[in-house]
């Protein structure tokens, strides 16, 4: 089932909330209910993957209890490799084999991708590593663990929260409805749906304009930069809209999920950007990969090579962050690019350059991040080279006139509002949650209603595919 659909927002969600708060009284029965609702939600999107989800969840629970950490890690990674990376790896390997004219064909699996696999596998891996490190004890509450694993507000695209945080909350669900959390839920839902349906969907329509098709893309910086800016705005509004919705749903069921965004496009450095973009994934990689890898490299190479160790860890971590997004060389390149940006950032901080943290750094970071989206959205070498050539000015400056000539008049307001919201520094629902005024609450209610009128057909989020 899709979060942005009439069937979910008008039927599934209200029915679940009424049952959850009105008819189910004890925290334990509420937990059972959340598990059932999550499995129903998941099965309506693809019932064939329910056994995989439950098997991985139960196996992780069982192996963690017996401190069999590495078998658990391997099992989860195996699922990820089989469903997400096998065909990518095999295709590349086959290309190498073909270069040597060896008559051998490797098998492709061509499997459908299970919804949310990358997200719940990462939750499982985080849990296993936490147990290994002794951060907390393995849970003996199977119901809580499985519910944590399949909790429907976050199963499609995160946030990737730790068991210590979300699992503990699920194990101690509130006994009564909290109006404060209820209001937070409505506010987050309103902002999330508005970002997605009113802004991101319209940017997607603009991105579908003929001028942005590779064969019609005019020469010059102007339109190429408009393209990457719009792609960057779209991705942010789409994903942060989803995150606000997921957080809102969590609040409505009495669970506080961790934030995933904090106005990333106003960041003053690449490091700050990654502290504000897809926060839960960044934290996961920082805790479970970057820090141990840095420590390991320093141990191996010695404290004198601490800087090199950090640079290496940055590149490795960001390459894997890129690979996490999908089995494509372009995602890998995007990750490497950000690894390089982080290293430049680390170098500048180490040299104590005055520019770090200034508005110049802020603008440079924004431009660098936007440039990076040209890797992320690239569909092939030819497309990339055309856009890259224009982005760096090899095609001259060009003109905005072609863009504005094709842009329908009613999209001007959308573009202005998009820019204002993104750069306000208050673009996240959490930024608005501190305002506790009745008129503000009334406007939130209206904001929640308006985008729903645009929900004719179910709509999906970009990050669900990752």
């Amino acid at each position: 089932m899709q979060l942005l659909s009439i069937s979910f927002l008008i039927f599934f969600l209200p029915a679940c909330l009424v049952l959850y708060w009105k008819f189910i009284k004890t925290p334990r029965s509420r937990l059972w209910f959340l598990l059932a609702a999550s499995l129903l939600f998941y099965s309506l999107g693809g019932i064939q993957f329910i056994p995989l989800l439950l098997a991985l969840s139960l196996a992780t629970y069982w192996l963690a209890q017996r401190k069999l950490i590495w078998p658990g890690v391997c099992l989860n990674l195996l699922a990820l490799v089989v469903f997400k990376y096998w065909d990518f790896g095999i295709t590349n390997l086959q290309n190498v084999i073909d270069q040597f004219d060896i008559p051998f064909v490797l098998p492709l699996l061509r499997l459908a991708f299970p919804l949310g696999l990358s997200y719940y596998v990462f939750k499982h891996l985080g849990y296993l590593f936490d147990i290994q490190k002794g951060r907390y004890e393995a849970t003996t509450d199977r119901l809580t663990f499985i519910t944590y694993s399949v909790f429907f507000p976050q199963i499609s695209a995160g946030p990737i929260s730790s068991f210590q945080d979300t699992g503990k909350q699920l194990g101690n669900l509130p006994t009564s409805f909290s109006y404060d959390m209820g209001y937070q839920g409505l506010l987050h839902l309103a902002v999330g749906i508005a970002k997605k349906l009113l802004l991101a969907e319209n940017i997607a329509i603009i991105l579908g304009m003929r001028i942005f098709e590779t064969e019609y893309l005019p020469d010059g910086l102007a339109v190429a930069w408009v393209l990457v800016l719009l792609q960057g705005f779209f991705l942010y509004l789409d994903f942060s809209g989803y995150t606000d919705m997921a957080l809102g749903l969590g609040y409505l069921f009495g669970v506080t999920l961790p934030p995933n965004f904090d106005n990333p496009y106003t960041a003053t450095s690449p490091r700050r950007f990654w502290e504000r973009w897809h926060i839960s994934l960044t934290q996961w990689f920082r805790i479970y990969l970057f820090s141990p890898l840095s420590r390991f490299l320093i141990q191996r190479w010695g404290a004198t090579r601490k800087t090199i160790a950090q640079y290496t860890a940055n590149i490795v971590t960001m390459t894997l962050v890129g690979l996490w997004h999908g089995a494509s060389a372009w995602f890998v390149l995007w990750g490497v690019y950000h690894g390089v940006l982080l290293n430049i950032n680390a170098w500048a901080e180490r040299k104590r350059l005055r520019v770090v943290g200034s508005w110049i750094s802020q603008v440079a970071t924004f431009i660098a991040v936007m440039f990076g989206w040209s890797f992320f959205f690239s569909s092939g070498k030819g497309t990339f080279l055309i856009i890259f050539r224009n982005l760096v000015g090899l095609g001259g400056f060009g003109s905005f006139s072609d863009f504005f000539a094709e842009l329908p008049a009613n999209y001007h307001v959308m573009l202005i509002v998009t820019v204002l919201v993104i750069f306000s520094g208050y673009a996240e629902a959490a930024n608005l949650s501190k305002i506790k005024k009745p008129w503000f609450a009334a406007l939130v209610g209206i904001l929640l209603a308006i985008p729903l009128m645009f929900l004719g057909e179910p709509s999906d989020f970009s990050y669900v595919q990752f």
């Binding site: 009439i6 069937s7 909290s178 109006y179 404060d180 209820g182 209001y183 409505l186 506010l187 309103a190 902002v191 508005a194 970002k195 009113l198 802004l199 961790p258 934030p259 904090d262 106005n263 926060i279 508005w359 009613n410 001007h412 307001v413 959308m414 202005i416 509002v417 204002l420 919201v421 750069f423 306000s424 520094g425 208050y426 996240e428 959490a430 930024n431 608005l432 501190k434 305002i435 506790k436 005024k437 009745p438 503000f440 609450a441 009334a442 406007l443 939130v444 209610g445 209206i446 904001l447 929640l448 209603a449 308006i450 985008p451 729903l452 009128m453 645009f454 929900l455 004719g456 057909e457």
Partner: protein, 431 residues
């Protein structure tokens, strides 16, 4: 995690605020100017587009306003302008109830407007004139108004619309009703047939004239979306769900809301809504094709050749068999016929599209064998225009496939013998 803003405004920030305020005010002006146009002079499409843009912009501006409000309230609070919060601390339950209340009121107003005005005729009643004629709904209404069930009922696509029940009565002596509808698929026609069979309790029809295409076309999703509510009872379970879900989705369609507003303003201004179909109580419909013959020819020339495929062959044959079985059960004879095509297109399709020829031959063979298997089934292939005297006159076609009333009468003449035979068969079965 959320960044704290600075308590003092720098010149840079001030410049940013001025720029933002200009952009915000410009957006408000652009949005407001949408409504300053003379909407009463707009046609339905223009009106709808303006209202949709207005609502969309209002939503976006509301989000922007909340963001700005949060920004300034926090700045003011930090600068100490509001020394003391004089208001009584607002209770959380009040905020929640206010949000939920406004949400419900706005959404409910939109839903009620759509359902009550029903501009697309999707909800089974019409308190207001419909913006888009729902030909299915109109024909169902006329059929239910009949005091006696007619002896001959015509079912099929828009190609049947110009077949005149009056002409059938004049020349063949049978009372008739034209239940042909625009753009149906085979599953659509099956629903019409089931509806007719189910409503023939007082006096059943003797003959159904059933127009079939030279191709198999099925589209349960579209059929579920456009069928009148009276047809839902005759749908398969999956299609029933689709029918209900699509209507519910349409309740949240801002385009339908804007159409409802258009109807309301037109009604208030005593403005007549333009009608697309001109349906008479016996089902005869003055047809207005979307393209002229010349435009149709130009489109074919542009695309090179028709693109056809024989999808859903076995499913459509199952549908036909189901109709035949139902007719047999009710002692009704069926005359299946394939409608003629304009000579130019007939030639192009049969010369240039081997797929079409293959599909057509399959369909032809199926109906020939069906006619042999069932005594109540009659089949006439009128695709080949040479089979009807005088129909080759090119002025007898509105476009590539829709006949003018003159040619429609020739078609009835060509089917007369089969209709008589079918009638006799049905009467014999009844006896």
């Amino acid at each position: 995690m959320i960044r704290k803003s600075n308590s003092k405004l720098s010149i840079n920030q001030l410049l940013l605020i001025i720029t933002s305020a200009s952009g915000y005010l410009f957006s408000i002006w652009r949005t407001g100017s949408l409504l300053l146009q003379d909407l009463t002079r707009s046609n339905a499409e223009e009106f709808s587009s303006i209202i949709v843009s207005f609502i969309e912009n209002c939503g976006a501006l509301l989000l922007c306003s909340l963001v700005f409000a949060a920004f300034f309230l926090e700045k003011i609070k930090k600068r100490g302008v509001l020394k003391k919060d004089r208001s009584v601390k607002t209770k959380d339950d009040r905020l929640f109830k206010l949000s939920l209340g406004f949400f419900i009121v706005i959404l409910a107003s939109s839903v009620v407007s759509i359902v009550v005005v029903n501009p697309r005729g999707l909800y089974g009643f019409s308190l207001f004139p419909q913006l888009y004629d729902n030909i299915r709904q109109e024909k169902v209404g006329y059929y239910l108004d009949l005091t006696e069930t007619p002896e001959v009922i015509i079912i099929g696509t828009s190609r049947t619309l110009s077949l005149s029940p009056d002409y059938i009565e004049e020349t063949l002596g049978y009372s008739a009703f034209n239940f042909g509808i625009s753009g149906p698929q085979l599953d659509d026609s099956l629903l019409v047939a089931k509806f007719v069979f189910d409503h023939s309790d007082l006096q059943r029809p003797e003959v159904i004239i059933f127009e079939v295409e030279g191709l198999h076309r099925i589209n349960p999703k579209r059929t579920a979306q456009v069928s009148p509510l009276q047809f839902v009872a005759y749908m398969e379970a999956e299609m029933k769900v689709l029918a209900v879900v699509s209507r519910i989705q349409e309740i949240f369609n801002v385009h339908q809301l804007s159409e409802a507003l258009y109807v309301l303003q037109a009604v208030q201004g005593d403005e007549a809504l333009s009608t697309y179909w001109d349906v008479t109580p016996n089902g005869f419909t003055a047809f207005k094709p979307p393209f002229t013959l010349e435009e149709d020819i130009a489109r074919l020339e542009e695309t090179g050749r028709p693109k056809t495929s024989c999808k859903n062959k076995s499913e459509s044959e199952d549908y036909i068999r189901e109709i035949v079985d139902l007719a047999e059960k009710h002692d009704i004879a069926i005359v299946f016929y394939i409608s003629p095509m304009h000579p130019y297109f007939f030639q192009k399709y049969f010369e240039k599209d081997s797929n079409y020829v293959q599909c057509f031959n399959d369909v032809y063979e199926f109906f020939v064998s069906l006619e042999k298997e069932h005594e109540n089934v009659f089949f006439i292939n009128l695709k080949n225009i040479e089979s009807i005297d005088g129909i080759t006159d090119e002025t007898g076609f509105y476009d590539r496939q829709h006949l003018t009333p003159k040619n429609a009468n020739l078609l009835i003449d060509a089917m007369a013998e089969s209709i008589h035979q079918a009638y006799q068969k049905a009467v014999e079965e009844e006896d």
